[in-house]
Subunit: 114 residues, 2 copies
DNA sequence: CATAGACATTGACAACCGTCGATGTCTGCT
DNA sequence: AGCAGACATCGACGGTTGTCAATGTCTATG
């Protein structure tokens, strides 16, 4: 999905930069992931899941803490899953959401390295 | 609209969380900063400045690499300054933008710690 | 003083986003 | 089979955002 294009634009002549800045496609990809957590509700959802002792929380236990409707919470969770931050596992009637291991730290590393 | 519900919902019986999740105001604040860099153009601007040998770049040298108009670039730079990621110094006719020391790494730490 | 250049600000517009109610889909139970 | 509960999806609506052209502000220079 994400094409890691590390094209050397012009490494020959102009040493105006000490290293290569982000390319357009890399910036698009990183921005897409950052947008996923750049929302107060989604930050809280991730935080609640991360703080849970079981490591996973079902939707019914997430609507109350954030004070939003169930469809809205489901929407936010879908955004987080699509961004590779959360993963979803359905067991019976319930859907359990948990953190993707290393997802947040990988994102943090990318932010620090921009 | 936002009722700061930091009340312990049921701390008596169900130890469902190992630590306290993000409060509403903390989530708002962090989301605001994350929104600032959750944009491909702003990520590239920050990256260009970070990659520059001088550590600072004026607006006129930023419009071409991102391919946007000067007002748009100025707008993005203002967002980044307001978020505490960039700082602005005006010398003569030019405005030089540079990274706030520790700004990005502090943000990265907060992301990893959510 | 007048002019030109660098940058910021304003106003407008289309696209996107967060939210909700209504509805659909699946699972487990009686 | 029928029903109830948990969750996802859809359609709609207001608010936000990224972008530009036009304009304003300041600085240096002739």
């Amino acid at each position: 999905m994400t094409l890691l294009q590390t094209t050397v634009s012009d490494a020959c002549c102009a040493p105006t930069s000490s290293r290569e800045p982000l390319g357009a496609s890399e910036a698009d990809s990183l921005a897409h992931t950052l947008k996923a957590i750049a929302d107060p509700t989604r930050l809280r959802l991730v935080s609640i899941i991360a703080a849970s002792t079981e490591g996973e929380v079902c939707v019914c236990d997430l609507t109350d803490p954030v004070g939003l409707s169930q469809p809205t919470v489901s929407h936010h969770l879908k955004v987080l899953v699509d961004a590779g931050i959360l993963s979803r596992e359905k067991r019976g009637t319930w859907a359990y959401y948990s953190l993707v291991p290393g997802g947040l730290s990988s994102l943090a590393t990318q932010v620090a390295g921009v």
